[in-house]
């Protein structure tokens, strides 16, 4: 009676549709109802409740685990409509860990044995989704019986379920596999057989996708289907199988070229045509005619109106493009046109293809065109373009780049693209190029300066990483700068408060380096010009001091006279000297001295720079004003760096106390110490930084007593939010300060590079400081006003082409230009590291779960194991499996196999000497030819014909019943497996 008042599924759906708001409330009410109804003893009520529950589970994501026992109950109803609901529920909600799975084995067995084919089909459907190891093991026998069912409806489903059974219970292969293979032969006649064939081929397609090698022996059967079948679905699957097998066995590839080309010419079905094309481009690229035909068909796809075909055509082309560039170049017009397609898929594929065409000769033009194109694209595609330019150009240590000056300025230009979000990549490349390519540093500093000096860029958070690199570069290679004072101003400009603290720390540190450089230059100049410091000059580079000396006296005089601050001539100076350590400074700044640069070229590059007392004093004032507030910053990094700079300034000022107003005598004595300090610092900064292998850390021996495997996991949870893998790799060329400093500063640097950009509120920061922990995620502060206009110098940097036509034209020219590039200068040396060591530490092994190994092992046992035994004992009649025609076939095939291929194989492969003597002449001839036939394709046709004749003669003795093409085909396979 209760079912009378029960809501049916229809009622439920209607009611839900009426709920405009509070849908979830309603559903939870309905769920209450369902829970009650499920407990009912009336099966009608129960099954209706379950049906509603499935609905809610499937479309409203309601968990239905609680009902699993009721599912089993409904499954076991005798009434078909209830049973169907039960099975649907089971296939939807059961999984490996469902405990009631144990209870359904018998029910499944009963239904599999049912005389009603629809009940059988229900059980099979369910099994195909939820079968576990246990279920598969217990029900293999039933499946085996169903495989020979007379009803196609059941048979095809039984075949379908095998895939799941095999993967869950590989041992089932022993029982079932032969019968499965038998079904491969049934094709060709009758509609029902076609369905079964489609199912079997589908199963084999999945199996070969996971492990192709094991199925090579079945190639003859597949080949026959490839030639005979008229069903496009079947043909597609067979082609999929062959594209796997073909790449394993070159001779097989040779076999299938012709039929595939035939299909390509004949078929009207685009899906089959595309599958043929894909097979050709993946595994038959050695066969010119096939490739040509495929490219022809691809071209048809490319000019088709249908964007699906266009997309697939481009995709096929990009598979081919990596191996045979000419195919892309031949279609470049269509490719470049597609760059402006409305379809993002098509655009992306064509972008990929355009990048494939990039070479040393055209990289400049293509990048220029693409960059202009990026300006007009939507932000997403724009970044895709930028990303692919970046990755293509940096491939293999900037292989395609000849003119690095150009590339560096390209990077600068990219940064100014309003949509640019490639900060991390550009940052990485700027630093990397700086380290690797010495010659480009001048231009690099120039580009960095342009970026730093533009206050508008600071407002764009996407550029912060780039600015960080620019700041680093300008600090590191400051000796190439035309105007270091300007750099300091740029580095300390007020808007740097928009930067996240870590990048700000980089800025301040770069300012530190620039300051050291300025002071050093200044002191050296002083030193050189004041004769009273001559004693010190012994430590200096002779030529430097000599060069300076002519001017010396004059300047000195000025110095003496000018106790005021305006000796303009003092700007001329040359830095260069060696000095010994001032302990105090070294300890204070040791951790800071990360960076070094070569100062070899200093004397030339810095000859006429405007330094004088005034500018230095101004500089120091500027730094003090800018950094004093930061010495109390809440951000540790910023505070630390700022204090370092201020500390240095204080020291210098104390040492040179009043140097600006005193007479020369005191100047000499007092400055000496300050000079020494600067010398040391400068020396520390002036060493080279080069790229470092990722693996180099591993080569550092672990100090004794240090346990690296100590449990640091708790540290992980603490630092998890601030430490992420470093983006750049830096080396420490720090000879002065020893390894300890080197290590600590390396850490510092890494942290600097990797910490997320944050600006925390003072409360949070104080809290952190107090606890010394970072367990709260730092928050991003967007509170800073951003009143500068966005960077808008785009128009000036790029002549924007309107329309794809121009684009096409330009790229066309750049692509077709065959001219040898006249490089004004030779490609600079790019520092490369030993490639051998650069292999990733954890070489990824092909993923093969043990389960699958088991499966392939079992399959091989069936297909090959018996061959092995029969092949080794030729005299024995094929063993135990007398009843199975298939096995006989296989073993007889393999019996004949070794004989057939004796000619092909090196002598040691031969086993039967009498056989060999028969073929001696032929064998010798073959021995000369390489085993791999496809290496000499030209002559192979004829030879091949002969061979197949020969083989068919052999074969006819053994098995007269096999069709000729199969005979011709077989030798290819087991040969490979012997």
């Amino acid at each position: 009676m209760e079912s009378l008042f029960q809501r049916s599924l229809d009622d439920l759906i209607k009611a839900i549709r009426l709920q405009m708001i509070g849908e979830s409330n309603f559903i939870s009410k309905a769920l209450e109802e369902i829970r009650k109804e499920l407990k009912s003893t009336d099966l009608q009520t129960k099954s209706t409740a379950l049906e509603k529950l499935i609905y809610l589970n499937s479309l409203y994501s309601i968990d239905m685990c609680f009902a699993s026992f009721h599912v089993v109950e409904v499954m076991s109803c005798s009434k078909f409509s209830y049973k169907r609901i039960g099975y649907l529920a089971a296939s939807q909600s059961f999984h490996e860990n469902t405990d009631v799975l144990l209870l359904i084995t018998n029910q499944l067995r009963k239904d599999l044995n049912s005389s009603n084919e629809f009940e059988v089909s229900l059980a099979l459907e369910c099994l195909s989704i939820i079968a576990t190891h246990d279920l598969s093991r217990d029900l293999t026998h039933e499946i085996f019986t169903l495989l020979s069912s007379s009803k196609v409806f059941v048979k095809k489903k039984a075949i379908g379920v095998i895939l799941r059974i095999f993967s869950k219970y590989p041992d089932s292969v022993k029982l079932v596999f032969k019968r499965l293979v038998e079904n491969l032969e049934g094709g060709g006649s009758g509609g029902g057989d076609q369905q079964v064939m489609a199912a079997v081929i589908g199963v084999f397609c999945e199996l070969t996708a996971k492990d192709s090698k094991s199925y090579l022996p079945l190639a003859p059967e597949f080949y026959r289907i490839l030639v005979d079948s008229k069903n496009n679905w079947v043909l597609i699957k067979v082609l999929k199988i062959f594209s796997k097998l073909g790449s394993l066995e070159p001779r097989l590839a040779k076999r299938i070229v012709d039929p595939i080309c035939e299909h390509m010419r004949r078929t009207t079905a685009k899906s089959l045509l595309f599958e043929c094309i894909r097979t050709v481009v993946t595994c038959l690229t050695d066969y010119e005619t096939a490739v040509k035909l495929a490219v022809e068909k691809i071209r048809e796809f490319l000019i088709d109106e249908d964007s699906n075909l266009k997309y697939l055509g481009l995709k096929a082309l990009s598979i081919l493009g990596s191996k045979q560039l000419w195919t892309v170049v031949e279609n470049k017009e269509a490719v470049i046109k597609s760059l402006s397609d409305a379809d993002p898929n098509i655009r992306q594929e064509s972008l990929h293809l355009v990048m494939v065409m990039v070479s040393e000769d055209n990289v400049t033009d293509i990048s220029r065109v693409l960059l202009n194109y990026a300006l007009k694209s939507d932000p997403q595609f724009c970044n895709e373009i930028l990303g692919s330019i970046l990755s293509t150009c940096s491939k293999n240590d900037y292989e395609v780049i000849v003119d690095f000056d150009w590339y560096v300025s390209l990077l600068g230009e990219m940064s100014r693209n309003p949509h640019c979000q490639k900060g991390v990549e550009i940052e990485q490349q700027l630093v990397d190029i700086g380290q690797r390519v010495k010659e480009v540093r001048h231009e690099l500093v120039h580009v960095a300066r342009d970026l730093l000096i533009d206050p508008a860029l600071l407002g764009n958070p996407f550029l912060h990483r780039i600015l960080s690199a620019a700041a680093w570069v300008s600090g590191e290679y400051v000796e190439f700068s035309k105007n270091p004072l300007e750099l300091i101003e740029a580095l300390l400009q007020p808007r740097t408060n928009l930067l996240p603290p870590l990048i700000r720390a980089v800025y301040i540190h770069s300012a530190f380096k620039v300051l050291v450089f300025c002071l050093h230059s200044f002191f050296v100049r002083k030193h050189v010009t004041s004769s009273s410091l001559e004693g010190l000059a012994q430590g200096m580079c002779d030529h430097d001091s000599e060069r300076e000396f002519p001017e010396g006296p004059a300047l000195e005089r000025r110095d003496c006279s000018s106790t005021s601050f305006d000796c303009e001539q003092d700007e001329e100076f040359k830095p260069r000297s060696q000095n010994r350590t001032g302990e105090e400074l070294a300890t204070e700044n040791g951790g800071e001295s990360l960076f070094a640069f070569g100062q070899v070229s200093l004397s030339t590059s810095f000859a006429e720079d405007p330094f004088n007392h005034e500018s230095i004093v101004g500089l120091i004032d500027l730094i003090k004003t800018a950094l004093s507030p930061l010495s109390g910053s809440d951000e540790v990094e910023v505070q630390d760096r700022a204090r370092n700079v201020l500390g240095l300034i204080e020291l210098i000022q104390r040492e040179t106390d009043g140097w600006l107003i005193q007479k020369e005598d005191s100047f000499k004595g007092e400055k000496l110490k300050a000079f020494k300090m600067i010398e040391i610092l400068h020396g520390a900064f002036s060493e080279k930084i080069g790229p470092v292998l990722r693996t180099s850390q591993e080569r550092v021996p672990v100090p004794e007593g240090l346990i690296l495997n100590d449990n640091l996991s708790d540290l992980d949870s603490i630092c998890g939010d601030i430490l992420s893998p470093p983006t750049g790799v830096f080396s420490m060329g720090n000879r002065l300060f020893g390894e300890n400093y080197g290590n600590s500063s390396l850490d510092l640097q890494k942290k600097e590079e990797s910490e997320p950009s944050t600006e925390s509120t003072s409360l949070l920061a104080q809290h952190r400081k107090r606890h010394g922990l970072y367990y709260l995620p730092a928050e991003k502060s967007e509170s800073m006003s951003n009143d500068y206009p966005p960077p808008n110098d785009l128009q000036s940097t790029a002549d924007i082409d309107d329309g794809a036509q121009d684009l096409l034209k330009i790229t066309d020219q750049s692509l077709s230009s065959k001219r040898k590039p006249k490089h004004s200068k030779p490609r600079p040396v790019v520092v490369k590291l030993d490639e051998r060591d650069e292999k990733p530490v954890s070489s990824v092994k092909p993923l093969k779960d043990s389960e699958h190994d088991e499966l392939s092992g079992a399959v091989r046992n069936i297909l090959l194991g018996e061959e092995d035994t029969s092949a080794s004992s030729l005299t024995k009649p094929s063993d135990k499996s007398k009843g199975k025609r298939r096995v006989k076939e296989l073993s007889s095939k393999s019996e004949s196999q070794p004989k057939d291929k004796l000619g092909d194989a090196p002598p040691e492969f031969g086993s039967s000497s009498s056989r060999r003597s028969k073929h001696r002449s032929r064998g010798k001839e073959r021995e000369k030819s390489p085993k791999n036939n496809d290496e000499n394709i030209e002559g192979s046709n004829q030879k091949d014909k002969r061979k197949s004749h020969q083989q068919s003669r052999n074969r006819t003795r053994h098995r007269a019943d096999l069709p000729l093409n199969v005979v011709a085909e077989t030798p290819v396979i087991p040969d490979f497996l012997l």
Partner: protein, 165 residues
Amino acid sequence: MIRAVMVMNTQGKPRLAKFYDYMPVEKQQELIRSVFGVLCSRAENVSNFVEANSIFGPDTQLVYKHYATLYFVFVFDSSENELAMLDLIQVFVETLDKCFRNVCELDIVFNFSKMHMVLNEIIFGGQVLETSSSEVMKAVEEITKLEKASNAISLVPKSVSSWQS
């Protein structure tokens, strides 16, 4: 192999969801949502394929077709042919059309279990088992007949209470 079949309307409400690998419901919901996110951002008249690696893991694509207010989505891996999948959607929709005579979204909303019945005949455990809509129809009709026969014994019609709501 086909990983999943989804039907959803243009508002993103799922109308049918079938996953051929077990997924917890939360995961299912998330996947449906992200698929919809991708689909609704695509313009009309663009290609029907979407790389689904970010949603369904490596080596997956999805193909979709937009009919009136509905998206039909098949998710599959490299063992299937893209164009064939597109055809298969066509087969599915054709069959539904035969089943409901001019199928519309409402038919699909109210015939949840029949949808599954049709789909189960076409795709079996992630494999394409039947590609002819007339064969599918034959099977579906048989099953419906069988269900009716088994229900005939029942004294109380299943949805007598439908007037209540």
